[in-house]
Symmetry: C2
Subunit: 160 residues, 2 copies
C-alpha cells in the first residue's frame, strides 16, 4: 500500500483499536473513536480520565493503534507511545457541542482528557500483500501537516 492509501484508510475510519499493557503486563484492547489525525503518525482520542486504560497508559505508555477496513481487507498497525494530555488547549481542540453528556463539567471537567498516540513504526496488510512503515517515512509524510478532524470530511452532518 502507498502512504496515500494508508492515509486514506486512517481518514475514512471512525474507530481504531488501541492495545496497551495493564498492571499485570497483559495486553488490553479497546475500540476507540478516533477521527483526529496528523498525517499517519499522530492521533488524538478524547476519553474519561478515570478510565482503566488511562491509568494503565500513565503507568506504561507503550501502545499500538490499529486501523482496519474489514470490507476491503486493509489493516494498519502502528506501534508507539501514548501521552495523556490534561491541558486546556488539547481539550478545547477536541471539544464538540453536546460533549457535556460525557463530561458534565464541560471542557474543564477533570474527567475529560485527550490521548495522543505517536507512532514509531508500523505494518500494513492488504489482500495483495504486506509491508512496513518506518518512523522516517512517517515523519517525512507528516512534516507539513497539522492535526485535523476527519469526521466532518468523511461523514455527512447528522449521519452516524
Amino acid at each position: 500500500m502507498t502512504l496515500a492509501e494508508l492515509q486514506n484508510l486512517i481518514d475514512r475510519s471512525l474507530f481504531a483499536t488501541l492495545a496497551y499493557r495493564d498492571g499485570e503486563d497483559r495486553i488490553q484492547i479497546r475500540r476507540v473513536f478516533c477521527t483526529w489525525h496528523r498525517g499517519l503518525g499522530r492521533h488524538l482520542i478524547s476519553t474519561n480520565t478515570s478510565s482503566g486504560h488511562v491509568a494503565c497508559l500513565l503507568r506504561d505508555g507503550r501502545a499500538s493503534l490499529y486501523f482496519a477496513d474489514d470490507v476491503r481487507f486493509e489493516g494498519l498497525n502502528l506501534t508507539g507511545t501514548v501521552t495523556v494530555h490534561t491541558e486546556r488547549p488539547w481539550k478545547e481542540l477536541l471539544w464538540h457541542d453536546g460533549d457535556e453528556k460525557y463530561y458534565p463539567k464541560g471542557v474543564d471537567d477533570p474527567d475529560y482528557c485527550v490521548l495522543e498516540f505517536a507512532a514509531d513504526g508500523g505494518a500494513y496488510y492488504r489482500f495483495d500483500g504486506k509491508g512496513t512503515l518506518t518512523r522516517e517515512e512517517t515523519e517525512a509524510w507528516d512534516r507539513d501537516r497539522s492535526f485535523a478532524d476527519t469526521y466532518a470530511l468523511t461523514h455527512a452532518a447528522g449521519e452516524p
Copy 2:
C-alpha cells in the same frame, strides 16, 4: 452484560482482533477471521504457518482477543494464551472446500495451521457499563460445550 449476551457478541462476529508481542516486546495487532468457538473461552483461527504473527506467538504465546460491535457499542477483551496447532485433526476441523486458494497443498499443507486462543479472563464494555469475566465463570459456562463454527449459524450461504 450477561454471559449469554457476551456469547451472542462472539457468535455473531466474523472477525476478531488479535494482539500479541513481537520480538521487541511491542504489541502487534491483526484482524483475524474467527468463527470457531467453544463457548466464551476458546477460539480457533486458521492461518499461514509462515506468517509473522505465528513466529511471534511461538516465541511468546501471551495474547489478547477482542470481539466488538461498533454499532451496538459492545466490546469484549479476552486475555489468554495462544497454542499453534499443526496436527491434522485441528486442520481437518477448520478446512473448507476452496481453502486451496490459501493453502495450495491442501489440509496437509505445512503452511496451514490452526491457532487456539484460550482465555484466562476478560473485560467487557457496553454503553450501559463495563465489567469483568473471570476464568471460573468462563470455565463453568463452557464446560458442556464443544467447538462449533458459528459462520453457518449467522451468515446465509453465499453472503459475505
